[in-house]
Point group: C2
Chain length 382, copies 2
Amino acid sequence: MCEYESLERTLEKYIPPDELKEVQRILMGNGSRELELPRCAVEAASARNFELRGCAFGAAPEQLRQPRVVRVGLIQNAIVLPTSAPVLHQIDALHGRLADIVEVAAMCGVNIVCFQETWTMPFAFCTREKMPWTEFAESAEEGHTTRFCRELAKKYNMVVVSPILERDEVHAGTLWNTAVVISNSGSVLGKTRKNHIPRVGDFNESTYYMEGNTGHRVFCTQFGRIAVNICYGRHHPLNWFMYSMNGAEIIFNPCATVGELSEPMWPIEARNAAIANHCFTCAINRVGTEYFENEFTSGDGKKAHRDFGHFYGSSYVAAPDGSRSPGLSRTRDGLLVAELDLNLNQQIADRWSFKMTGRYEEYAKELSQVIQEDFRPNAVRE
Amino acid sequence: MCEYESLERTLEKYIPPDELKEVQRILMGNGSRELELPRCAVEAASARNFELRGCAFGAAPEQLRQPRVVRVGLIQNAIVLPTSAPVLHQIDALHGRLADIVEVAAMCGVNIVCFQETWTMPFAFCTREKMPWTEFAESAEEGHTTRFCRELAKKYNMVVVSPILERDEVHAGTLWNTAVVISNSGSVLGKTRKNHIPRVGDFNESTYYMEGNTGHRVFCTQFGRIAVNICYGRHHPLNWFMYSMNGAEIIFNPCATVGELSEPMWPIEARNAAIANHCFTCAINRVGTEYFENEFTSGDGKKAHRDFGHFYGSSYVAAPDGSRSPGLSRTRDGLLVAELDLNLNQQIADRWSFKMTGRYEEYAKELSQVIQEDFRPNAVRE
């Protein structure tokens, strides 16, 4: 089957310019413009066979604050080697691929780069096999991949968000789905774990790891305050909300999700979070179809098969004013470079005032009732 | 200026069928199909000059439950008389218009109908004038409009959701932005007030009424459990969430909002709420441009003017599986009839499990900290 390339390309191809403008305004908002990227980066991306897109979200000039401009890089990619290759070869091949893309990000002046969920491995949790997939797990602080990312961070003066499968040796070798945040100085700033674990379709992740225990911590980097809401946590508005209340200006959402299941939700959730929380969100999804050696079933009455379905990429950035960037392709590796003026967050917060009008005291009260075993819904009967 | 009619029409007009299918799948999901409506209704809508659209959201057959099929009607409309006409004439003209549309809804078998926000009046809060606009306020229990709606409800065996400007005589004649819910028996089931009041653009509603004090009550009607999240409350994910936790299966969102300000957010928020809360949501927005006798400014440095901008209609229904109906027109009065199998809610909840994986105890704890004056964000520094 030939995968459909992208909504954006179809619209641009068929709709006359005048109407296209209205369509794009309704679908994307007016907030972003195309960002011109250096020729060397464009050429390198082409030579290395990945899509490179740039967009910029501005803010109004202020009198007392300088613009707070930061460039983020969102990277989506397919795995490099077959899933049957030796574990270390698979990891190293992905390190190599990402090094190539990050180098281009550096040419584009990216300050913070975020990779996709569990980026060093195939998304093998569909198989429910423990071996060899748990061998991809690494120490967040001292693992092979963290060392690799620290080198990148230092070399390019870039904050690196590296979502991996973590083995927590300090706590009995437990597995976690974790994002490691590495400062542009090259040191590990900290880690944050996936708060909500799916039980849907082939997302058998609850077989491997539990709900994260790191709360909603936010990382104060030199380029802005960032948080990482991993994958399925995008479906939980309270999750986004709490990162925001802890001060996040940019929330990254590294994912691995497939077409049949979630695609119509994809443009909605991260974007809603940017609107509701007056912040930027960056949704990243892997691309391609991954095949596994042993067949597995999907609890849907269909025959056993060897693939998880198509990871549809479509990574994008959403802004607090309701606008968003175009999405990367559904099929190709890609780097989306987005220039954000973080002043926009406060400007939109002052304009729309969702936080000021949030009535959180009421919700704290109601939520504390909801969780009681004897909770009685507020229902009016005839 | 000629207003742009609708995104859906543009896509259908230009994009070839094969690609249109992919575009619609990504933009709308696969969950709804067109609903055939009786010829008499189609003809009446045409004769009365409003758009009529039908769509249906099905659910899988179950062994122990029958399908729980309900038809909802969403009505969007322009005001009928100029804003300078006598108050009672304006109200009665709107009663007449709505009676015409509701009659068609009855022909289509609608069980629950919802009108737009403060449907008996122009959205005059942009003016900041108290007179004559406060004269549009009525008693929720015994007002002229509630009597009118009770007649409709009884005549057509239809639940009527009637959002009005309320004058609460029992409490010192205070004004509220309120939805009255009338049972299909013709009796007033209750009322529910707008929980979040905007302070943005020309939405000077905080000049007229305060945040609602009726919490997140849900109305158990013969056709399903419903809630009403009025207008600006759609920007607050916690608001939708709490209606859902109180048992709402369908959340109506009657609005009055204009193009320049909110249009790119419009397709996002109610739909995100349907996904996140495993329920149906119905977003309704008025249409047309309303002109006022006295000019007013908008706090945006522009010249004084007499209109609030274009209310862009585009009413739609969103389903828990991430799919949505096409939107009604941006420019015409309209009735959207949606057939919902409410069994879908539980089916999707069991499939996606956002409630089960919601970790509400954690959020109750964190939220109770957030509201403390000495709250210290969970922030990691270098």
